[in-house]
Symmetry: C2
Subunit: 615 residues, 2 copies
Amino acid sequence: MVYILGKAHVIIKPFDISTEVPPGKTVLDVLREIGIPIRSDCGGIGICGKCIVRIAGPVSAPSTNEIKLLGQEKIKAGFRLACQTKILSGKIEVYIPRESRIWKYRSVDIGFERHVSLAPAVRKIHIIVPRATLEDPRPDLDRILCHDNECLEAEIISLEVLRKIPDILRSCKWSVTLVLHDGKILDVECNDTRSKTYGIAVDLGTSRIVVHLVDLTNGKTLAIESAPNPQQIFGADIISRLTYVIQRPNATQQLQKLVVQAINELIKKASSGTGINIKNIYEVVVAGNPVMNHLFLGIQPRYLGYSPYVPAFGIPLVVRAQDVGLTINDNGMVYIMPNIAGFIGGDAIADAIAVGLDECSEPCVLIDIGTNTEILLNNGRDIYAASAPAGPAFEGAVTRYGMKATNGAIHKVFIYFSESEGDYEVRYEVIGNVKPLGLCGSAYIDAIAHLYRLGLINKWGKFNKGTVTKRFVTRNGEKGFIIAWNRESAKGEDIAVYAKDIEAILLAKAAIAATFKILSWKANLKVEEISKIYVAGSFGISLDPENAIAIGLLPGINPQRVIFVGNAAISGAKLILKSIKVRKKAKELARKVKYVEVAAEPSFRRIFHEMLCLP
Amino acid sequence: MVYILGKAHVIIKPFDISTEVPPGKTVLDVLREIGIPIRSDCGGIGICGKCIVRIAGPVSAPSTNEIKLLGQEKIKAGFRLACQTKILSGKIEVYIPRESRIWKYRSVDIGFERHVSLAPAVRKIHIIVPRATLEDPRPDLDRILCHDNECLEAEIISLEVLRKIPDILRSCKWSVTLVLHDGKILDVECNDTRSKTYGIAVDLGTSRIVVHLVDLTNGKTLAIESAPNPQQIFGADIISRLTYVIQRPNATQQLQKLVVQAINELIKKASSGTGINIKNIYEVVVAGNPVMNHLFLGIQPRYLGYSPYVPAFGIPLVVRAQDVGLTINDNGMVYIMPNIAGFIGGDAIADAIAVGLDECSEPCVLIDIGTNTEILLNNGRDIYAASAPAGPAFEGAVTRYGMKATNGAIHKVFIYFSESEGDYEVRYEVIGNVKPLGLCGSAYIDAIAHLYRLGLINKWGKFNKGTVTKRFVTRNGEKGFIIAWNRESAKGEDIAVYAKDIEAILLAKAAIAATFKILSWKANLKVEEISKIYVAGSFGISLDPENAIAIGLLPGINPQRVIFVGNAAISGAKLILKSIKVRKKAKELARKVKYVEVAAEPSFRRIFHEMLCLP
């Protein structure tokens, strides 16, 4: 490692990101620049005490606010407030404890994002070309390409650009900006427009579309917009949407239009909100699962619906925005992240790129829990991937009081035996601090973990007959455990976890756990060797790692090693947008991943059955 | 020079082309393969005696037909019939006399064409990919790209291709042909279609469009079609068409549509006539002058109409056929030859490439005489180019009985003094052997040369007053010389050359001669150093080199050194279609040509005035 004299070399844990910064900045500044989301509820003025970090190395002395909020003991142990602590020169280690970061991912529209040096595919060059004369009558395009004694070997992306060059050159007095995309001329603009260079990252989810507008001159995210995927009216999950499309000849085009319209609206919102001209957006990077990618490009996804589940393309694609119907610059380009297999797509690659899965020095795992759960595993040598058909149980689709993690959903549950009451008591948290409407996936996991710990259910998830509690309820002949009483609930009825709900959740977890087991077999990896498990996706927001491990959804590692990374797909897409080096890496990663089709494994049924048990 | 043992090394004069061939072929076979047009009126069966060549080197003994048709004396002097003479092994020189080749260019739709090794931009690969299985579920596109342990780094030209790949793969039982264009995937076709690979070369002339359909598997020309340029209704020459377009906002689009429609019809004719599916035509190469190129691409050519006459582009362009409206394969490409300057375009580059102007070992010159005359000059080191605004005099537009070189035009004139008649007599040839309708450019040149030689006109082109002949005529106060009497003419009136006609022709020749003079000054080249003058274009068909030199249209060199190459533009376009190596050469040639704007030369007016004289 080479240190630059006078600069501070900051290493951020547990993400293992390092950066060189000039001394004098606060730790919060540095974390914000790199893009690590950290709590700073008061906006960084030193009064809320939420941006706690643990620091080793040369930094400024504690402020009076810090001493007041943290106390001398904690400060002695290295705890500081990020907003109050200034970096001096030398090597500094900053550890961000869970409580300072986890809540940052409340919104599923952002995620953990590594720092990259800016090197986007879109590049602008401002040139003042010598006016054409009888002595120098070179053609306009050649005049633009050859300047300052250098000639660009650049193709023109479209005839439209060429058609406007002669007029632009003359009306702009020979001062123009070339917009290059991957070395090709994407546009020619009047005067110096270098400061206006923007791109869009899209997380094209089955249920939600997230759009980030990025300033490509400094890498900053200027606007975030999201909306439900309008294709949902044709099926909530991938399989039902596939079925719809396969059965109807023009449905692919219909669904393509819908999703493109939705993205266009989000781009419009993002740009009008920031006062940015849509013509200055030159590239869109799209991360989606294979079915979403197919539908976005208008490719019939029929063969994803049948064994052996083959996508039309794997390699990353670059197409014209016009060809798919996206309204950015008329000659703007769209980069579609690579697919690996039928159910491992650009979103999983984006996740992996965002967390740096390919760079783990010790074995690490990435899990994106959803209707379709993707697992990527780096055993230190190779990267393995598999997809688990978990189904929509975690998203509330199968359980009686199940709902998505939106306002009114109980997202955290704690069950205990109250000696004073002589019965089981429940504490819970509701998203939005309103009266509860139902339970989201994380609440079911909490509940099952606690019911099992307390012996209220057996290892098959069945209610034990011996227990007596007034929280037991029987409805339509089925037994349940009440989480919220009718008087507490917004529905006016008891919100309970029923036997069938537990069964549905255990089926989903068995699919994921069995897939993980087969994958770790293939990779010859023992659970205790895993250094980190990154949990991506909206499901990670409220998930309690201990409970997830307790029910066997996550492998039995130290819960401290579970890192929630939020919407890593959008973060990965942004990295790809910001750097062609990362783009190249993503392509290589996609190429070298060893895909394991678990459904083709003879032992899958047996292991799946084993995994239905609670550990 | 390395000779291959057992093979024949054939050098063809005066073109200085050499080729290696296996012994046993006839000279006619060899010439046909190389693409040198030679008369063979009987089809090569040895009875017409038109394919006379002069041979030195080891060839078969004369046939009885040859002895009958040529006589022992000529055979002793080396004259043979190309169709009867078989090549043996060793070094053989074949000289093709003017009379065996010149008439080949009767039609302006073909021209002199060098031999090139086939290396087209369009390439097909037939592959049988392993069927997708659960054990090998690679994506379709990746499966196509990686075969036989090799992966192509190929982009997809259009989404349309990707959209059809999944269905094609399965319906064609995994046997498909990849169509590659410059390394990109242009199309994917069912089964093995390698034998069906075609391209189109277009000579996009101001007045005439010529289309050649070429089989890209063997380089053979399968069909030739031509038609008038329909844009002519908006002006016969470039300047009037420019004026029309500049003054009207939508005229560029209007003229673009017209010319594209015309090319589409020619392509359709050519393909239906040969039973070729238009979908198997993958590339079109277009050679046109800058204004034609602009209008073909829908680029407003406004700035070509004003000093300093700057084209929008110089470098060669590759655009999608769909984007300009050409109907070939849906994803077919169009290559537009490079422009050098405002009035030196892809047609001139095609001419130069066809004759190998860049490869002359001794100084050589190319002249394409037309409304706008292009002159390219290689002084052995650099290539210089200029354009002369000759105007339409040679095409019959200004002279009283002037007409184009079509049926009914007198195209050759010989004037002499008949002692028996005691007066001047005229012999002439009419195209189509019909009664004459008028005189085409070459006839005027012949007439002026003879009138000057006979002292009937002075060096200013004025009729001498002293001479008496019944062929003198005065009409509307203007003096003329009758070429064809009214009784011989299809018009029922005397066809004569008038004083004003001579003036118009001398103005046109002065423009060309002055341009040549300035160009040779710039290149520091003396006339006597010129080894060859290639005359391209329709005008060369009937031109008598001695007379062209006599009036000063061509520089005063040995007439044997004047080589008529016909429509070299279409030949050059075909070379570009057949070989990416030639394509690269054309690009380099265009880049290194030194363009001279003669109008900007202070001495131009003075020299132009001098050149109005007859030498």
